[in-house]
Subunit: 367 residues, 2 copies
């Protein structure tokens, strides 16, 4: 269907200097949701606390009539129902999943879209069928280059009608631990997380983890659909092609200590010794260092790192601090084994993606 | 702990004309969440889609050591663990629960707080112990007037440190269908909905449904704690005492037809006949009429009402419409058996409570 509407086409809008969040952004912020920071107390994030971003509407998918087709450049196309999928050998992977737009609302100027602060993240155990096994059974032809995943969610973006669809290279799709998940934390997928089946691509930002999966198509060329070629690109200028958004940049977040003030979410903490805790992750490599600052980044100390038992999941860190009366600004920043480190100032791009600048946390310690 | 901080005390701030939503409000909008409108397709709203508002942090409550005390003006104080509570006769009630601040962001000028549009609602089945039975066992003294419910959530609001606490009159607390719920939709309460036990007061706005309940205290006087005497009041002027916020005003919402545009959430719908559906509710009485307008309120038609099987839950309605090419603004408004009806323009108050003005829904029908 071709539509001609005021908002058809064109690049994303950039907010004017000082422009507050508009009602359109607020509606997105309200229907999608972030993880409350205190949820990082737990290793796993339950549904309702785990972040959710839905491009269009959450579709209703009937499990009894659901089918998954694997087709295109394959010698043996597959057509599976849910029972057949679940009868296959399964794997459970613990994955920290983050939205590529996390941090967008902290950019100046602000790209107008889902206005995430820093909470668009969560960690869950996803159980499903290794995609590599399924692809091997389908037997890709030598021409196969990209694998396209189609969801049942449907809508319009910059005037283009589409099913939500993302492509991965055949190599990325065949990587270890990529699964077609039908369970989250040991229970059937909640509807908002892609019931009955979603793709999970450990290490990659959320846009790759196609929900409500219904088709896998192998192409003999690079996929040039909207979400790969237009949507998730890193651009300085609106008309350049830009680089693709791929893996999760390192980030550390503190579990806010003390008690919150309702409106500002600033913290009030009794004076004395306190153990600061938090979580850090990276989709590029292992988090091997986290620094904590209690003086707004003037000085930093290395935090103690918890075990790194799960390759794709956040790592716990702790740091001790003696809170003296006054106002303090806490910060934390993660380093990973590839040499990536969180910057203190945001790296800007048109779409507001991958802003992993470290975030200040204001703490008031009364006398 | 006494704190002296910039934001201590004073009434809620009112936004300047044209002032966008600030980062403080955005953080609240991000950690709390609304129900996506398409969730109204279903009778019951699952966790993660049901709205959540938390004043402070979501507390961690250990079920094994949890206790509920019933004390104060009673002849037989009670002290129950979870097993003892769950061994008592239970009841399941289906309840539409709405935040008193739902609609706040639609007010002009806008009170600065959690900036809800219209999605702070959800319907669930709550299973638990009838409070009236428990109170009868505790045997209130003749002096008992109010019943105060204390949660485990703790923080600061306008400079006042507090556990979240709300009072009800003994009569309201003893009403039919008020339960101490330990299940939501047949499963243990999710942590964000008050695990292990919350109060459910059918018909009342969410502020009465104290989560993470840990104490019930009967007083020989009216409760004058923050959430009753200061927080949830209907005021035209900041310094007047105001009237208490109590029961849910009538509201009807449409399930958005067609497909959404990602950013604006405006709808695109193919021309032709369509069945519009929605849900309507009121905490004062039975919804007995819903009107739908497809011309921005110029003309209205009565919708067909579904059965009213659950006294406290939303009622389904349907209306047929032949969508002609063009831009249309849909509206719906509910009437209840007490004569209450949704207004077309918001009723303003300082706290931004109980704004049940009907909401326009923009639909584009291409040629």
């Amino acid at each position: 269907m071709s539509v001609s509407l005021p908002w058809t086409g064109g690049p994303a809008r950039i907010a004017e200097p000082g422009e507050g969040v508009g009602l359109d952004e607020l509606l997105l912020a309200s229907r999608n949701h972030a993880m409350p920071a205190e949820a990082m107390r737990e290793d796993l994030t339950p549904p309702g606390l785990h972040y959710v971003l839905t491009h269009y509407d959450i579709p209703h998918v009937d499990a009894a009539s659901w089918r998954l087709r694997v087709e295109g450049c394959v010698d043996h196309p597959l057509d599976l129902d849910l029972e057949a999928l679940q009868a296959r050998p399964s794997r459970t992977v613990r994955v920290t999943l983050e939205c590529a737009g996390n941090g967008r609302a902290g950019l100046t100027p602000r790209p107008v879209s889902q206005p995430w602060l820093t909470g668009a993240v969560g960690t869950a155990e996803w159980t499903g069928v290794p995609l590599a096994d399924l692809l091997r059974d389908a037997s890709p032809t030598p021409q196969a280059v990209d694998v396209v995943f189609t969801g049942a969610d449907h809508g319009f973006e910059r005037g283009i009608e589409q099913d939500y669809e993302r492509g991965l290279s055949l190599a990325d799709a065949s990587a270890d631990d990529v699964v077609l998940a039908y369970q989250m934390n040991g229970a059937p997928l909640p509807v908002q997380h892609g019931f009955p089946v979603r793709l999970v691509v450990p290490g990659w930002y959320g846009m790759a983890h196609v929900k409500w999966l219904r088709r896998i198509r192998l192409l003999d060329r690079a996929f040039d659909g909207y979400q790969n070629a237009v949507g998730y690109r890193l651009r300085q200028e609106p008309d350049e092609p830009g680089a693709p958004v791929t893996r999760i940049e390192p980030r550390a977040l503190l579990v806010p200590p003390g008690d919150p003030e309702f409106l500002t979410r600033e913290r009030i903490l009794r004076p004395g010794p306190v153990t600061l805790t938090g979580r850090a992750w990276s989709g590029w490599g292992r988090v091997d260092r986290v620094e904590v600052s209690t003086d707004d980044g003037l000085t930093w100390s290395d935090a103690d790192l918890g075990p790194h038992e799960h390759r794709w999941a956040w790592r716990r860190f702790t740091a001790t601090w003696t809170a003296e009366p006054g106002r303090h600004v806490l910060r934390a920043r993660a380093h990973d084994s590839t040499g990536r480190v969180q910057p203190m100032t945001p790296r800007w791009n048109q779409g507001g993606f991958t802003n992993n600048a470290d975030q200040p946390l204001v703490v008031h310690v009364p006398q």
